[in-house]
Symmetry: C2
Subunit: 247 residues, 2 copies
DNA sequence: ACCTGAACACCGTTCAAGT
DNA sequence: ACCTGAACACCGTTCAAGT
């Protein structure tokens, strides 16, 4: 059957509709819903069209590609994640940035895959974020010689951890796969890997590579917080290193 | 035409072949080639089958799924990236780990997408890596109270930066997209974003969000090195914090 | 045991045609 | 301007059937 959905009774005829509900904004909202439900891998523009009860080609009148749609979705999730300036020193501002980013992404865990590994980030992360990071780094003592490096490290610190934390589990057979990994983890040879064996109880299902559930089911909050503090402490050391010629 | 390839003259008939060239290993090697050429997004098991001049279903006799195949490819790239124990102190070992990881991934940039954002990492990163990281962290002074956090930060520091650095550019229209971003970057309003404008020359095409080529075309080596040093310095601070009860 | 060949249930995207 | 309807060129995966 050629209908987008089989149970919807009223079929819209061609031409400009009286009630123009199919806006770009509506498409993006539905797309975010889809992404939340099925993940980036199973996300399809045909499903978005089905939810809106239109043909797939309709989507392409409002949006240029699947990629552009996902970029828009990602930037929707990111709105409001940048802290205002003037709230404390550089460490406070960066800490606030990281925490706001985490909060925003945890509301829609599947966007982490977009922000980290697809260059969607280029379109989704705002110019204001960049301006804020640079200002704060200069305030922290960054120079022409190390500003670029410090900036790149801030952006990667912001996104990197959560990209891994929220990486998707294998799609099919989630139960069997989890059981298999759990079995593999629990049957590690104590003779070959004594240290791992001794500390496995601390790590099982709460550490990268050794877990069978991802961050949306088992958040790694304390590790993320450690990650932030490690980065801030390290950045301070890094920025104070080449300052022998300044003072 | 039903043939997998149209130009190959000799078509294999069904049944067990005399020269059994289609091994699991051969499939993984061809898959790595494919991944290097087309990227994770365009990678298809049908293309792998075409390269081997067999039907797609043949692949599925040797390998359980596309996902499992990519996991195998990733772990192939990772072999040998773990430094041997006993070479210096914990900082030296971790630095060596990060540099080896970078070297291995740069040889096959498209696996970065697999290692970072898909949970392929679970299958691809080895148990030996875990054992090494834990040992070295204990040597560095990690306790039961912070081992898990430190471990998670090491793994994320290893993969996070490069996942972003090697994130794929938009597939279609790469030239137009690059020009568009370049234009957008160069036309930033100096009044609204004065700091960014002043330092844009340092960042253009060499910084996250502000670049139009990815890490395989424009490597961010100095930033990665800074990232490593920032992490190591920060980790040292982190591990020495709760040690007031020890000495 | 290992492969063919066909089929199933999907995709993203394009484009003429309608109103 | 905005949508239909059909089509194109693909996918991953399954499964009976061959040898």
């Amino acid at each position: 059957m050629p209908m987008p959905t089989s149970d919807r009774p009223a079929r819209r005829s061609a031409g400009r509709p009286a009630n123009s509900t199919i806006t770009r904004e509506a498409i993006v909202n539905v797309a975010l819903d889809q992404l939340d439900r099925v993940g980036a891998h199973a996300f399809s523009v045909r499903d978005v069209a089905r939810s809106l009860d239109v043909y797939p080609s309709t989507i392409y009148w409002h949006v240029e590609s699947k990629e552009a749609l996902l970029a828009e979705v990602a930037s929707l999730v990111m709105t409001g994640a940048i802290p205002p300036r003037g709230s404390g020193d550089w460490k406070t501002w960066l800490r606030s940035l990281f925490k706001r980013y985490r909060k925003a992404v945890l509301k829609h865990p599947n966007v982490a895959q977009l922000l980290g590994a697809q260059l969607v980030s280029n379109a989704s992360l705002s110019i204001d974020l960049i301006e804020g990071v640079i200002s704060v780094l200069l305030e922290a003592g960054a120079t022409e010689a190390n500003l670029r490096e410090a900036y790149n490290c801030v952006i990667s610190a912001m996104t990197g951890f959560m990209t891994m934390e929220l990486a998707p589990m294998p799609l099919d057979d989630p139960k069997g796969w989890a059981a298999a990994l759990e079995g593999r983890v629990r049957s590690i040879d104590p003779l070959e890997h004594p240290t791992l064996t001794r500390h496995l109880h601390l790590l099982a299902n709460k550490a990268f590579i050794l877990r069978w559930q991802n961050g949306s089911q088992v958040p790694l909050t304390s590790s993320f917080n450690a990650h932030v503090e490690i980065f801030l402490a390290g950045l301070e050391v890094f920025l104070s290193q080449e300052n022998d010629s300044v003072d």
